[in-house]
Amino acid sequence: MPSAERKPDHIVQLVWPGQRSELVTLGATGKSGGAGEIFSIEGKPEFVAKIYHASTSQAHLARYRHKIQWMLDHKPALPEVPAEYQDIVQLAWPDALILRRSRFVGFAMRKITFDRTLELDYLLNRRQSAQEGFDADYGKLLTVCFNLASLINCLHEKRIAIVDLKPMNVKVHKAELYVSILDCDGFHIDTEEFRHDAPQVTPEYLAPEFHDKAVTHPEAQDSFALAAIIFRLLNYGIHPFTGVASDHDKYPRELAGRIKQGLYPYGKVAHKTVRKVPASVHEAFPDSLRQLFDRAFASPGYSRPSAREWVEALSIYASKHSGQISPCEKGHLKFSGRPCPTCLREALIEGAEVRRRSFVVRMQAAPARTLKYMRRTLRQTHSSPFQAALAQAQLFTFRQLAPPAPISTRNAIALEILWISGLLIAFWWAG
């Protein structure tokens, strides 16, 4: 930014751990969230600054400062990444306090390079992810699931929970398949020396026991949201509580209502009132994963699989050498010993498309077929003995011929107008 355009408000003080501080200039990025705005930091391209909105009250700012200070002092140990990927930022964790005129206004964090990443939301739609340069297959998706579960497990070990865990808050590195979690300052922290709640939730990923209530067990909430994200990633974006109800009137329209009522139709034991959506491929998942999903969505909160259990279950599928993932006849990756979910999905979609086309063709051909049938009946030229018998039965065994000379429908209507006129006249005279 040219120095002439610099505003005094954009010059802030960065306070690093160990109380080393420096003055820096912020540059607008145009990115803004619910709590604050993101700025670039001049001379530090690997960092960005989150500055809380000016409308944030002093009391809130004080709480934020306390939390950010604790986070600076207690950076969690994250899953190890190979040396060549050390620049990957797995958590947008605070790295420095930001003060303006000695007052806390925000924090600095490592920058997640958006060019190398895409929102996890995009992976829920194969076409969208392909457009973003990510060719999703089950090998990659399981690795992403494993990396996400590992990251959450690391946080849970430090008694930190995300609470508002949803695909929009997670970035996926396209080439490396590591994940980055955003909005770390909104995490729930519950340690012996420090506690901070996370009031923000998303109903579509909120565990049933926390609907209309505060989240009292944040790790259980994370486990639910993690299971929902994994289910959606592996099942072409289908939410575990999306289904087809036999009784539409009692079936909640919103996913939140279905979660609250536990209307999960993808269990190993079929739900009594809700059916799976036809495009689901969950039956191609291995039993170990299906059992975890059933525990996550159809069991009480305390028996829900933790992030650690997911890590253990997914590790064998995320590893290339385990032999648990193998190519199908068409070359798609699938769970060994299970049907190929990609082929299953293609067959389902192709089947639906074939049925749709066939229906359209039948509908379009219906008038011509009916006309042909009527003409054959009138001319008694049915090639099929069954149709001939049917036509004969309709005609009370009278043999019929075509009119002596071909007449159009209009001609026939003209004759019938005369005939009906004669009939009305006859009725007048006879009645």
Binding site: L378, A405, A426
Partner: protein, 178 residues
């Protein structure tokens, strides 16, 4: 519906019939039936707007039945074809012999109905005569049902199919716009 509106509607329908008339020449029996019913129709119109002569109501069924009987009896010997073929519809592949007997049967029935109508009118009560008159209309209704099944329904099917095709084409055109 007022009589004037009914006449206008009928005239429009007759105009449509004229415009859509078949290109083939009509058979003599068709022409005779057309002329006869034209005359009967004109008579009906006349008596709708003028007072009927006393006792004419009793003669009306006999007039129509005997007119039909006369046409059916006179035309075949003169080489005018079988009017029963026009009445029932010429879609049925019956031999001339079969048509001749059907025509004779129709003619006999019409003679009988016209005659019994006069006898009933002369000897039975008015109520009994009315009952007989309306029961005779079952004969006409039978012909209507016969024609409905074998002629009108196929025409209705053809017209419906034509409209359906138009609707499909219109739908395709509109959907192609979006």
């Amino acid at each position: 519906m007022s009589p004037l509106a009914a006449i206008i509607l009928w005239a429009v329908l007759l105009f449509v019939a004229w415009r859509w008339r078949p290109p083939q020449a009509a058979s003599p029996s068709a022409w005779v039936l057309l002329i006869a019913f034209g005359a009967l129709g004109a008579g009906a119109l006349w008596f709708d707007f003028h007072p009927e002569p006393a006792g004419f109501a009793f003669w009306k069924p006999t007039v129509v039945y005997w007119t039909l009987a006369a046409i059916m009896l006179i035309l075949p010997p003169l080489g005018g074809g079988y009017p029963a073929k026009i009445i029932l519809g010429n879609y049925f592949a019956l031999s001339n012999r079969e048509w001749r007997w059907i025509n004779r049967g129709f003619a006999f029935l019409c003679v009988l109905l016209g005659g019994v109508n006069l006898v009933t009118a002369a000897q039975a009560s008015y109520k009994d005569w009315e009952g007989f008159k309306f029961s005779c209309m079952v004969f006409l209704l039978t012909i209507v049902l016969f024609r409905l099944n074998f002629v009108w329904l196929p025409i209705l099917a053809e017209v419906s199919i034509h409209l359906y095709r138009r609707a499909t084409a219109a739908y395709r055109f509109l959907s192609s716009l979006f």
